[in-house]
Point group: D3
Amino acid sequence: MEWATMRRTQFAAAIEADAVVVVPVASIEQHAGHLPIDTDSQTCFEIARRAAQATQEFPVLVLPPVWTGYSPHHMKFPGSITLEFKTFLDVLTQVARSIAHHGFRKILFLNGHGGNTPVVSGLRTKLAEEDGVGAVGINYWDLPGVPEAMRRICPVDGGSVGHAGETETSLQLALRPELVDAANARWIPGASGDARAASAEKGRALLDAIVPALVAYLRSYHDGTLEKTFDWTEKVSR
Amino acid sequence: MEWATMRRTQFAAAIEADAVVVVPVASIEQHAGHLPIDTDSQTCFEIARRAAQATQEFPVLVLPPVWTGYSPHHMKFPGSITLEFKTFLDVLTQVARSIAHHGFRKILFLNGHGGNTPVVSGLRTKLAEEDGVGAVGINYWDLPGVPEAMRRICPVDGGSVGHAGETETSLQLALRPELVDAANARWIPGASGDARAASAEKGRALLDAIVPALVAYLRSYHDGTLEKTFDWTEKVSR
Amino acid sequence: MEWATMRRTQFAAAIEADAVVVVPVASIEQHAGHLPIDTDSQTCFEIARRAAQATQEFPVLVLPPVWTGYSPHHMKFPGSITLEFKTFLDVLTQVARSIAHHGFRKILFLNGHGGNTPVVSGLRTKLAEEDGVGAVGINYWDLPGVPEAMRRICPVDGGSVGHAGETETSLQLALRPELVDAANARWIPGASGDARAASAEKGRALLDAIVPALVAYLRSYHDGTLEKTFDWTEKVSR
Amino acid sequence: MEWATMRRTQFAAAIEADAVVVVPVASIEQHAGHLPIDTDSQTCFEIARRAAQATQEFPVLVLPPVWTGYSPHHMKFPGSITLEFKTFLDVLTQVARSIAHHGFRKILFLNGHGGNTPVVSGLRTKLAEEDGVGAVGINYWDLPGVPEAMRRICPVDGGSVGHAGETETSLQLALRPELVDAANARWIPGASGDARAASAEKGRALLDAIVPALVAYLRSYHDGTLEKTFDWTEKVSR
Amino acid sequence: MEWATMRRTQFAAAIEADAVVVVPVASIEQHAGHLPIDTDSQTCFEIARRAAQATQEFPVLVLPPVWTGYSPHHMKFPGSITLEFKTFLDVLTQVARSIAHHGFRKILFLNGHGGNTPVVSGLRTKLAEEDGVGAVGINYWDLPGVPEAMRRICPVDGGSVGHAGETETSLQLALRPELVDAANARWIPGASGDARAASAEKGRALLDAIVPALVAYLRSYHDGTLEKTFDWTEKVSR
Amino acid sequence: MEWATMRRTQFAAAIEADAVVVVPVASIEQHAGHLPIDTDSQTCFEIARRAAQATQEFPVLVLPPVWTGYSPHHMKFPGSITLEFKTFLDVLTQVARSIAHHGFRKILFLNGHGGNTPVVSGLRTKLAEEDGVGAVGINYWDLPGVPEAMRRICPVDGGSVGHAGETETSLQLALRPELVDAANARWIPGASGDARAASAEKGRALLDAIVPALVAYLRSYHDGTLEKTFDWTEKVSR
């Protein structure tokens, strides 16, 4: 269910059912010459949306993607937008506090942009300890099982999500082929990975791996299993 | 043209043509029992999108709506999300700085949520003086000619944009009727104005007034006329 | 009663009587070649002081003017002082919190400088929601009835408060003629409105309109009428 | 000369003459049962004003007192207003930056409230190193020669400026006797020193010591002698 | 060479030789019942010190450990000290800016506390883009080759650095056996990993793996090899 | 007892006994050509350590020195590190809050660097009023009795602690002679006082005066006597 298009009368049931709220976090930033500027935002949101639909046992609500991400290293290429590090942290913190204010106890920041990783990976401890809010954060390419799938499906890039390379280009070819300028898909500054190796078929295979991985992750978060993996090793070392 | 779906190769021409960049600023907040949570964001974005399409003489680029708005007074109703006042200011400032960084000289913050008004109305001076960035900010319901049109088309609410009342409900009935729970459209806490007076026809009439008003505003911004109205009266008193 | 010259023993009765505390907010900034730098501060403070004296039914306490305002757009002319946007907000917030800390429940920020408007207009919601403090903010030239009076008394400037023009110059000619360099009253950069049309008589007529308007506003704030006008239309749209 | 009542045309000569700008920094805070709330602000401002008038060789401009000081420890008594520590620092920093922006090279923060001392004493290094602004800060009771005079004139309080005690009460009896509730001048919580020992005569004697001490300090600042006393001992240890 | 005990005359040669400056970043936080509070700080500093001594080709300067780390999740156990997330970021940023100010171009934040990881991992991009400072950050247990060594040497904890478990306890038994209360080394809340499996011998083996790994890392940083690994994959995905 | 090398099990007794926690605050900054960069940190820490050992009636815990001090005025000489004014305040505030969180009620910031004085002298009021934390702050050279001892022992510098002069150099000659480059001890930019007059003997005499002065201060803090000296004179004037 998409949070944005719900009416205020529709939240009570979701809160009651201990819904998981997914906040896609991404960017508006250059993606070489062949991919649209909002590649990270749309990919991440679409993965979240499909996983939410595929999860039947409990409600999963998906917010609109936070497209105001952390991309200062992309600013030399036109179209990129970035917040400062601390403002980006403030935005995610205050979005989480708003969600928790309404009674939700489980927030999953699903990250779709590498530059956001440091902040997103720190959110669990920061929100729990400084804000009293329960949340977890993970890159979609780090979901359990996904790295292996990526290596298998996109061997040219060797399992790295890269940037506008084999993986991201394949995903966009599967999701929004009309926005991909395939003729321009090649190695150039500002990209990482080889877009020429991309295909819509690979993109569909990736989605077939990532979406179920997210569903499994949501389930483990909802039923408490995930918390147990955050034992003191994680709590203390992360 | 939608900024989000452009590729990085497509910005140079727009910068060269002194494009106006429209940043829709809105909210994710409760809209009584009958309207979706993202009413302000979608209405504002759609108005901007239509005006951009209708402007042929120079490019108008429309960013995705900034849905992380200032709505603390809505937090007692579920679904509302809010930033703090200063973080909201930081976000708009840094989005503007990013846009200006690429060479754009004209940024229009088109506001669609009343709670954002104080910050948006202060952006012109703040960005010019503290950040060296050229921008203007206006509520869509304050565009020249629009207040009169609203009074004429939505007489029950008397020309006020209200909240989930005659005006906003009519606009959503015209734009996304499938998301309006008309059976619940009535006076209740958290609303302002009478949603029962709304109709899709009124919504279309409003759009027919607002979109051309925005086009005219964009033109006056692009050709320098608007700046002249910001004489010392405005510069000093606003 | 002037807050500044009271002794600590004199506040209990005022708190008990649910006094309204007026905080004049203004600036130290250039006012063309003929008006003193503190025109906004003194005008605003004097209006507040007179209204306080004219209100007999309940106590009205007037703080010294906050002369550290927001005037970055005046910095190219000597004598202007400005805070940054966020610091200005912090100052007003913390002054309000201090007042409320002592038990006062009604704070009126009376603004006398156009550049402060965005922050002052946002204070009501910001203080109520983020700080739990009751306050309202209004420009003295926007008090009910005043715009009409200004148009009538100062027709050359057409009802605008301008800057160092017909209105402000008339007010200073009525309040502190010895500080006005009438020979220099003319259209120049850094001014708005036509100071040549000013007169002490007009200034007195303006005060005769503004002071009672403020008294009426104070009464409506004290007796709860004003709050009713902040219904959901205002609460949500402003 | 009072900065506040100057016109913008009057600053060029002062800048040219390397004027010293005095910023009185004080408070609005309870002063026991017998002194007005703005005792620190008025005392400090009046000392600055008199010293400015007594200095003929070069212009001395006096700003209005910064009455938004640091007084959290007085908040348990009604009437006190305080900023937070960091906001108070921001205000003084931005006032200084504004003054320096116009070309003034010598700013003297004359402090009249003990609670402000830590921030004021740190301004010289902070402004020089972080903001590139030349300034010094001193308490009026620490001006060279003043401690000895205070011990001599106010022996009961032993040379301490105290709070609403012999010294401050004497100064107010000399400056504004009509605002002193002498019948209430006694030892009570929230005071320091013995107000019963105060007299207008002592107050006049204090002013006769403090004002010339400030004049001498201004001269040593203006002619460069003062800077030499800020040798490495001071530069490094303060 | 230890930065702290150098004299100011000794830096010029190091700057000239393009020295690498290592900033150990750690914590003061509880380490179960058997390890001292500063375990992370001392371990990290000692590793850095030994690697600096072992690097002969170019100077490596080691700052004192930044013991004011990010440990809010340890605050329920006595002795732990923590900064807030944003202050911790500020401290590392300003330390880096100070180092770069003197002309050093290569700063390595060597992290010894898991809770610091999100901030440290984000420093490279943040410092490069927002501050213009060259730096890298890495956990000592993530240095190339070290994870494998840890798995081999400390099989009970399976290669995880844990917290006060097999790895950290072994390291402290090797470095400061007199501070380890071996009788209390066991599984308890606030620990991760099995301290009972620790030994000084394992600790020495760990140091024999980690110190050379850091030397190799320093060399690759100094000769430019490391930068090449931060290609667009890393630049964009991290 | 050194806080850093304690185990978490060792704090309960200290808290129970109302221990005083000493936080040495100093710097990493140039100390002319003959003293090590960490002179202030080591001197201050060593004084605290010796005083803690000499205090038998109640526990005194000594944290590691906060070496991230405020030294912007030293940045022109290599090796100096500085925080910004507000970050330095944040660090000390958060360290104090962490200590108080565990139940300690008495924190003594012992300052060893003149540039830190403004912040440290403001901590008592700031922490008490804004953070609810009990603390005092003092420079080691301002401890009761120490100024007289310094004048007697180091007559060349006239009782000033200076910077890298007679006093500091003597202290380092007593504490760490191997790090002093006596051949370079002379008047030069960046120093204050005459290092040529220094001797290890003087340093030992200084320690013999300072350490007992600190012990006495700790005792008066622990038994409540010190608080009584912070009567309203101090509370209001400092």
